[in-house]
């Protein structure tokens, strides 16, 4: 069955776009209903998973656009940008990484997901979520700083422990 085959991957996508699990489940439900309704439109060109994934992402975008979009400022503008060490990937679990993205404010999270994970450019993002390109750039930069701060916070005790030895 279509749902059984793609539920796990699509749920991970929904978790990235949602603030919490309940919202992710809403996105999942709305997205799969659209998938079932539009199944007849699938032209067998390309991957079915990619098609389902696109529907999920657009469902998340629509969900986001329905909410009032506010320019969120969280004071991360002045955070330093330090490269993330490759070792962090081994230290952090997939749930923790997903949790970091979910912890971003709505606008940041949406722009970061679309740009970094889905591969849209700023012009496309601006069209999709109904904002200016400069806003998209600004929110992406802030999202990056915020995520870097989270990674730093998560990985610091590990480095500190190494230094004590």
């Amino acid at each position: 069955m279509l749902y059984a085959r793609y539920a796990r991957r699509m749920y991970a996508v929904c978790l990235r776009y949602a603030r919490h699990e309940l919202e992710a489940q809403d996105l999942m439900q709305e997205g799969f209903i659209r998938v079932f309704s539009k199944l007849g439109d699938f032209r067998l060109e390309g991957s079915l998973e990619g098609w389902v994934r696109r529907i999920m992402v657009h469902t998340a975008i629509n969900h986001y656009r329905k909410k009032s979009f506010q320019m969120e400022r969280f004071g991360f503008d002045q955070l330093p940008e330090e490269p993330v060490e490759a070792a962090a990937l081994d230290v952090l679990s997939a749930e923790e990484i997903t949790g970091m993205v979910a912890a971003l404010p709505d606008g940041y999270r949406m722009v970061f997901n679309l740009f970094a994970i889905e591969g849209f450019d700023h012009a496309e993002i601006a069209t999709l979520i109904g904002c200016g390109e400069s806003t998209s750039r600004s929110q992406l930069a802030k999202a990056r700083r915020m995520l870097q701060a989270m990674i730093h916070k998560k990985t610091t005790p590990v480095h500190a422990g190494d230094a004590s030895h």
């Binding site: 749902y3 539920a7 796990r8 439900q29 699938f42 067998l44 962090a88 995520l147």
Partner: protein, 408 residues
């Protein structure tokens, strides 16, 4: 050029192929929500289809079924399935009122089956009859022809009759049949033919995961029963009321063959051909008054074969008469229905709205028909020619709105 960032790369590597186990109940919840939304959507579409069919069908049904040619042609004036009934009273020698029923020409030998009844209604008592006297060499006074027609030719009194102010006056000869309402019930035994579905698969997926069948053709015989109720309007009230067939629905039975296609979305389209038989009875009652004048000679004095003195009274007898005309039309309908329906599975059954149009040709093998006699403007039963009958029931188009149900 697209900018790259180490944070982006970090999260892309970590999340692109990430998977998470959704709650177990989420699948069932999605399925239930999908069904609920689909049902709501379908009912919205059904309502729209029904509304459209109603909007299209009502005008069609209104302008169809127009009836023309109710007037009797000159060639048809003598044929009749009607008797003028009634009675008139006169007084016998003992002064007792008597009722004599008049009888006019009976049915022609080739007249079709049509029952005829005659009935006298009320009698207006005539004034006291003065004593009659002997008449010698009396010249005719008054019209004898009508008297004979009423059976008084051999009476000892002279008189004439005339119809006065009939209660039914007809001033138009066209009647619009208006809208015909019908309740059809059709039973179709269907044999379905499913075309072979193309077997397509992508990436190891099962075909049934996303492939939907493209529909089914079907064909089968049909039996139908329907009740028609025609509301005639316009024209003279008398004819309209008579044509209503006493306001009772007309039952019709038919059979035919139908074929169509049903798509996976539930949309079905089919057509067919049906033969149907029906019978419409009619009965028309016309009341009018007749006045009979009788001249009674009380005293006649002659001198050398010349009348020198006449004493006579004129007696007018008013009689209410009722003329009843009735018969039946036996109709054969050839129907070509084209319908579409939105059929949805509800449990083991399939149910949905249907709408369509029916082209219908009606041939009347019939008996007497009611028509207006242009000679006196009265409604009479008559045998219309096939051409006149076909004018009365022309080719017409009807709209159909209803429900369809399929048994498993």
């Amino acid at each position: 050029m697209r900018e790259t960032h180490h944070i982006d790369e970090f999260f892309r590597r970590a999340l692109t192929s990430a998977a998470a186990e959704p709650p177990r109940e989420l699948g069932a919840s999605i399925l239930a929500a999908h069904r609920k939304r689909r049902r709501a959507l379908l009912w919205r579409r059904r309502s729209l289809v029904a509304l459209l069919a109603l909007l299209i069908g009502l005008p069609i049904a209104t302008w169809s079924h127009r009836e023309t040619g109710n007037a009797i042609g000159d060639s048809g004036r003598r044929s009749t399935n009607e008797r003028a009934g009634g009675g008139t009273s006169h007084h016998g020698s003992d002064g007792t009122p008597m009722v004599t029923r008049s009888v006019d020409a009976g049915q022609p030998s080739d007249a079709p089956t049509g029952q005829v009844t005659t009935e006298a209604l009320n009698q207006t008592p005539a004034p006291a009859t003065p004593p009659a006297c002997t008449m010698n060499g009396l010249s005719a006074i008054g019209s004898t022809s009508e008297t004979e027609a009423l059976g008084f030719g051999d009476q000892s009194t002279l008189g004439s009759t005339r119809e006065t102010s009939p209660t039914s006056t007809i001033d138009r000869s066209d009647v619009d049949s208006g809208m015909e309402r019908a309740v059809p019930l059709a039973l179709i035994a269907r044999r379905s033919f499913t075309p072979t579905a193309p077997q397509v698969g992508v990436g190891g997926l099962r075909t049934e995961d996303y492939h939907k069948p493209r529909g089914q053709w079907w064909v089968g015989p049909s039996l139908s029963v329907q009740w028609r109720e025609q509301n005639w309007k316009g024209g003279p009230n008398e004819l309209v009321h008579a044509l209503e067939g006493n306001g009772k629905p007309i039952a019709a039975a038919g059979m035919g063959i139908a074929a169509g296609r049903r798509w996976p979305s539930g949309l079905g389209l089919w057509g067919g051909i049906e033969f149907e038989r029906s019978q419409q009875a009619f009965r028309h009652t016309q009341r009018y008054e007749r006045a009979q004048e009788q001249v009674v000679v009380n005293q006649l004095v002659t001198l050398n074969a010349s009348i020198v003195f006449v004493d006579a009274d004129t007696i007018i007898t008013m009689t209410q008469q009722e003329r009843v005309s009735e018969g039946a039309d036996h109709r054969v309908h050839l129907r070509l229905p084209v319908e579409f329906a939105w059929q949805q599975r509800i449990g083991r059954f399939v149910l949905g709205p249907r709408a369509g149009a029916v082209l219908e040709y009606t041939q009347v093998r019939a008996t007497s028909s009611l028509a207006i006699d242009p000679a006196d403007g009265l409604v009479r039963a008559t045998n219309l020619s096939p051409e006149q009958l076909n004018q009365r029931y022309p080719l017409n188009m009807s709209a159909l709105v209803g429900l369809i149900g399929l048994l498993p």
